[in-house]
Symmetry: C2
């Protein structure tokens, strides 16, 4: 992109704006490290004390982001005739910052403060409700959280559905009008496919995982695997936490975690591959975007597409294990020495409805998301009430998955998201799957030897393609633009529907 000569006064404003953005980017990377440290390394007694320091720091960070200086600079630079002459990076920075600035400014300070207190308490209540299987403990808190989010939707504003205003926080530009048909198609085809799988009588042997897998051997295998699939160990690290996550400090420092369960070798391997997908994305953002708010993923959904792509389209493929299975067998000769590649491949792709979302397979996972999406949309739309959630939840589980939770703990209380008010977040997970399948279709078209390369253990070409098309752009484009640029069309459900149909037809001989 060619650099235009700007009016000196505009240039001065641009320089001042970029310096402020860089400061905010530096603060954000420090915030990110503080969060990682609290989760991974900080000792028990230090955490509550350090939380106060983090509070002080976050307040400074927030003040900076909503400062008068920022407001004035955004005003100056987003005047159409000024904006039009800026380079695309500056334009994208302003686009993103304006969104966040106006959202932050719209919520009255005391309303937000009350909400922070509410969600902190709600989290405790949710934990207790979950432990004691008593929805009524969480219910009054959830009611207030829903009320707040409905109010916020009104304050943020929306064209058609109040839920749109919340969706935008995670997936800029997304709306119920776009999601409804996508999700309806995915849900219907998934329910039908699940029925055919159930009736097929074919059962992968998941018993091979019900053995003891030495944790040290699991660690060795994960450390071996990680760099080979494209994660740069000089620009990141792998640690261990109960809930795996990925946390970027900058493109040279992206930290991921996994967990090792003695009775579940799949958990660590696929957890690591999933988080590596998030990590590789952040490691490969164009260094030109360093020091801006664009040096991160395009959206929650696009981020999830990268983790799902690596975990499922790559990591659960036959080609992948054709290459890596012998090494896994060497790590666990007793447990897997006599298990064939085909048997292993079918076992890691076994479809089995479960009560718990995070334990779900590739097919039924999206049905768990549909349930949450439909409930959130109806709650924010004012069509259903919090007190009816357990019943609604269980009915939907029966309708889509054919099973009914025996308790609310394994039903409506299973996820943490509502306790922190994350309405609009869940759809990102299925969006990730939808994006991933559409990207797979494009990559296979452009690189017909895609799975041959993976089978040969050659990930360089695949990662280069992802870097070129997705990773390097960071948040330069909106998710909508990005997916259209790369795949040539808007997001469609067909790719994921066909991918699932094709994959499971072969595995279950449908």
């Amino acid at each position: 992109m060619e650099q235009k000569t700007l009016d000196p006064a505009v240039q001065a404003a641009v320089d001042q704006y970029k310096a402020l953005e860089e400061k905010l980017a530096h603060f954000l990377s420090i915030s990110s490290l503080l969060e990682w440290d609290q989760k991974v390394t900080a000792p028990k007694k230090g955490r509550p004390i350090f939380a106060k320091a983090i509070g002080t720091f976050r307040t400074e960070e927030f003040k900076l982001s909503v400062s008068d200086e920022m407001g004035e600079l955004l005003n100056t630079l987003s005047t159409p005739e000024v904006y039009a002459n800026l380079d695309e990076i500056t334009q994208a920075q302003i686009r993103e910052r304006k969104e966040e600035y106006s959202r932050s400014k719209k919520i009255p300070a005391d309303m937000y403060r009350d909400y922070v207190v509410l969600t902190a308490r709600a989290n405790d209540a949710w934990e207790e409700a979950r432990e004691t299987n008593n929805f009524s403990i969480f219910e009054p808190f959830l009611e207030k959280i829903v009320d707040y989010n409905r109010k916020v939707a009104g304050i943020f504003g929306y064209e058609h559905h109040p839920y749109d205003a919340l969706l935008h926080q995670y997936e800029p530009g997304l709306s119920v009008a776009v999601l409804d048909p996508l999700f309806a198609k995915l849900r219907e085809s998934s329910v039908a496919l699940l029925e055919r799988i159930k009736q097929s009588g074919s059962k992968p042997n998941v018993g091979i995982f019900e053995q003891s897998y030495d944790v040290e051997q699991q660690k060795k295998f994960n450390q071996y695997l990680l760099p080979l699939i494209g994660f740069d160990m000089n620009a990141g690290r792998l640690d261990e936490t109960v809930h795996p996550f990925a946390q970027p400090m900058n493109t040279g420092d992206v930290r991921i975690t996994t967990r090792y369960l003695k009775d579940n070798v799949r958990s660590a391997v696929f957890g690591t591959i999933h988080e590596a997908g998030h990590g590789i994305y952040e490691q490969n953002i164009d260094p030109r975007l360093e020091g801006t708010a664009l040096s991160t993923g395009a959206s929650f959904g696009i981020h999830e597409s990268q983790s799902r792509f690596l975990e499922n389209m790559v990591g659960r493929s036959e080609a992948f294990w054709h290459h890596f299975y012998p090494t896994l067998q060497q790590h666990f000769p007793e447990q897997l020495g006599q298990v064939s590649l085909t048997e292993f491949y079918r076992a890691i792709n076994s479809v089995q409805p479960t009560m718990i979302r995070v334990e779900a397979d590739e097919l039924t996972y999206n049905l768990h998301i549909m349930i949450r999406y439909e409930i959130e949309k109806a709650l924010i739309g004012g069509e259903i009430e919090v007190k009816d959630l357990p019943e609604i939840w269980n009915q939907k589980m029966q309708d889509y998955l054919g099973i009914t939770p025996a308790t609310d703990t394994e039903g409506v209380l299973q996820d943490v998201h509502w306790s922190f008010g994350g309405f609009g977040y869940f759809p990102s997970y299925s969006l990730g799957n939808l994006y991933a399948a559409q990207l797979l279709s494009t990559i296979v078209r452009e690189k017909p030897d895609f799975y041959d390369q993976i089978q040969a253990g050659n990930f360089a070409g695949v990662q280069q393609w992802l870097k070129e098309n997705i990773h390097r752009h960071g948040k330069l484009y909106t998710p909508e633009q990005l997916i259209k640029n790369v795949t040539g069309e808007d997001l469609k459900a067909d790719y994921l529907v066909n991918y699932l149909e094709d994959k499971y037809s072969r595995i279950y001989n449908l």
Copy 2:
């Protein structure tokens, strides 16, 4: 201490001042974590990028500490009639802050900026000089650093010797007039004692350490030892770095490191005990001081007294190993199974002049410090020149230790301190030994069963004494006050002189 009722305007200033101090304390604990992370966990490629974020953060921190707001508050609160009515914690905060504020304000900003650039380059030059054994590469940088520090001494001001102004940065209130006689006495007695040891013909069998000690076993032993000697593992952690150090985030989070050498089991054990001494100090500071600049050690020298006390007076005592040696033997049955406790005890206390300070034993260590002290004092006093340092260094090594470095790398170039301009820092190490011996004399007087308790593996009483007398006070008192409060007298060389005389007379049958 009784809480006095203050004039409302004064109370408002106190509240504002305390809030500002708390913010600075929070910033400091974040700075501390950022530093720890860069040294211990950050991946290679992330460090240079994150360094920019740290730079931004430190600038904010510095601005806050020298803000007009701070200046005005200090002015208001240090008026004698106001100051006299403040509680002792607030008084001590103001005492410390005034010192730092006035030092920071006195150095012109551009002079300081040039110096930061100079020391960054000097560090590279020092590294190169050391690697290539070529003092002349470092010489021009060191000349400028000495010039700067001489100027700074003039700007800070001093009564008798310019070096005093630099000493104060590390040990408030200390001066050449105090140090000279202390160090002279210690130096003379140490040189004489070393001579008698050399002539004794007795040689501890250090050969027992020249074996291979499995690193995993070393880690296990260190992790076992650490909580037993008083380090709270829920308020800290032990990691591994090339250069061991201790870093406090707050009283609930104090992180120490050690290093494991396959051919040197002593290195990790005594490194761990030493850093644990620093760590236990920080863990036991009174929580009332949390959120103030007083929540750290009283001075560099007092801090070092706690690490040296635990490492040497406790960790190199016969009583200590009477308790722990059987367990160490269990960890290394092949290497130590046939070595008696007495043989082991004598070996860990072997005296042997070495070229390198950090490898020195308890006796000769102080002689290394004398050399540095005398050189620094003469450089800052303008009595000697940088170009003559290699020769001066080697002569002093010969005079005090009886050995002459073959190269400048193992001579004048061995320490990093001068490359970052740390003039006035080295004396803290020997001060630590002096304080530690004086404290030992007091503790043994007050608790005559001191070594019996250690021999029984009971560290609670000893740690309680240190907490009560030293740790809990943090930086509430000046080192001078503190040592007088605890031991009843000013710092004297006699205690360390007698301790060394007594210890080595027995070990070497003098």
